[in-house]
């Protein structure tokens, strides 16, 4: 399940939907990203998220597909919000189930790393000094590139 949406999401509903998968999946890993107060040295009060309708969904579906080819996964849910967000608002949710915890952890992290590098979203932060487009973070490229070297099972 992939959703790009302006409205908020509810962790309990997401978790219950993931949990109600097959009884063979003993591991559920979730990641939630929130609007932080400090980013790249700026005092942030909120942000506006822009996306490329159509391509964003396609890109997320492709990332999830790559994860499913790489790890034995049950359900995968990805939600990313767009529009205007405030401090501590939920931005992104990735939830993954698998038989084993290692696959669930790795796949969830892989999806976030690839999303950060490939999914067409752009953040404009509202800071005390006005609005400011967020710069791409080189650390995110490194985080994604290490998956090229690693295989399942580490």
């Amino acid at each position: 399940m992939i959703s790009v949406q302006t409205h908020d999401f509810d962790i309990a509903s997401e978790y219950n939907a993931l949990k109600s998968s097959s009884a063979s999946d003993g591991a559920i890993v979730t990641f939630t990203g929130l609007v932080r107060d400090i980013n790249q040295g700026n005092q942030v009060t909120g942000l506006t998220l822009e996306h490329y309708p159509g391509m964003t969904e396609k890109s997320l579906a492709n990332i999830v597909q790559q994860a499913k080819l790489r790890w034995p996964l049950g359900k995968v849910h990805v939600i990313h919000r767009v529009g205007r967000l405030l401090l501590l608002d939920q931005i992104v949710f990735v939830g993954v189930t698998s038989k084993h915890r290692e696959a669930a952890f790795e796949a969830c992290q892989f999806i976030m790393d690839y999303l950060k590098n490939n999914a067409p979203f752009w953040k404009k932060e509202t800071t005390l000094d006005g609005e400011k487009w967020v710069e791409f973070n080189e650390k995110d490229r490194e985080a994604a590139s290490r998956w090229k070297k690693r295989k399942y099972g580490v």
Binding site: G33, E50, K116, W122, K123, K124, F136
Partner: protein
């Protein structure tokens, strides 16, 4: 005719989110890019190859990508979601 879309800071700097362009045979992404550099001379620093990504029909593409009539191109800065 192709559709050219802009996103993020590039859309703001160019003050444009969509442009329709006539294309000729054998045009590549790099030819469209050259047209943009001519059209937006005040904003060329935002159009530098290292500062932008390009997608053709909603897939990331290289400057060498051959384009066809009806294609949807998009230029945008490196992504910053998540």
């Amino acid at each position: 005719m192709i559709k050219v879309l802009f996103f993020g800071q590039l859309k703001e700097v160019l003050a444009c989110d969509r442009l329709d362009l006539e294309v000729t045979e054998q045009m590549k992404v790099s030819d469209v890019h050259a047209l943009l550099l001519t059209r937006y001379q005040q904003s060329t620093s935002y159009l530098k190859p290292g500062r932008i990504l390009v997608a053709v029909n909603q897939d990331l593409a290289s400057m060498e990508h051959q384009i066809s009539d009806g294609d949807e191109l998009a230029f945008f800065p490196p992504v910053t979601g998540g």
